[in-house]
Amino acid sequence: MPKTQKRAVGIKWVSKAGLRKALDSRARRVLGVSGADFEKRYSMGTLGPRSLDGKAGTVELATLCFFTRDQRARKKRKSGR
């Protein structure tokens, strides 16, 4: 961190639950669906690249999904195959 500067906006680190809240807020705002609904559709692969970039604000939802999904569950599924 530069020592000469003290000015910056505050930062609030949040857990997965906090990010899910942000995902939900954004999904409702841009698509009119819940964050959980978006996550489900995204993980099922029903939203392709064209759908994701087809409406303003949608691609950021997919970006957020990486941070909200349960990594342990995903790894468990993979190792089970």
């Binding site: 906006v9 505050g10 949040v14 990010l19 807020s25 690249p49 087809g54 997919a62």
Partner: protein
């Protein structure tokens, strides 16, 4: 120069980003992590005061990765989205979005711009106008210069912050232009 530790690389990157944002807002930035990946975002969008006219709104999503570099650690941007909006009839409507999200859309890996505009060709909002890599400082200066967004700080202060942080970005960026467009 690479940071000495992963934590320092993380803190430095977030600090520059937060300092640049302080030019137009004092809203808290939300941050999250997953492994060595980080996300910084504004959701809901933050209100921006203007010298005249209706206020504008800004949404920002920036992701980055902390990775070992020569003799230390470096934060590398993995995607960005800088969105400008205006409120009409109680709803936020997009004016323009600067995007780079190579991992999310595999067939669209280059940085691009979406502009909401109706032309003789029709609605342009989902066309991808190729751009160079856009730093948050470029976006903020664009808001101040072209949309009369009112900086919160004195001219000499905000100009110094954006210039210094943009220089830092240029010096440390691993790329500035997307060479293989297709």
């Amino acid at each position: 120069m690479p940071a000495k530790s992963a934590n320092q690389a993380d803190n430095d990157f977030a600090y520059f980003f937060r300092e640049s944002l302080s030019v137009v807002t004092n809203s808290y930035l939300t941050a999250g992590r997953e492994g060595n990946q980080r996300v910084l975002l504004y959701e809901p969008p933050v209100k921006l005061e203007r010298k005249g006219g209706d206020p504008l709104y800004m949404a920002v999503t920036q992701t980055y990765l902390i990775s070992p570099a020569s003799g230390g650690f470096k934060a590398k941007t993995t995607s960005y989205s800088y969105e400008l909006m205006v409120k009409k009839d109680g709803n936020l409507q997009t004016i323009a979005e600067f995007h780079w999200h190579p991992d999310t859309t595999g067939n669209l890996k280059w940085p691009h711009l979406h502009v909401k505009g109706n032309t003789a060709e029709g609605e342009l909002g989902r066309r991808h106008f190729p751009t160079a890599r856009v730093a948050i400082e470029d976006f903020l200066r664009f808001l101040i210069r072209d949309f009369d967004v009112r900086p919160r700080l004195a001219y000499a202060v905000w100009k110094e912050i954006l210039t210094r942080n943009k220089r830092e970005f240029v010096d440390s960026a691993s790329w500035l232009y997307w060479k293989p467009l297709i």
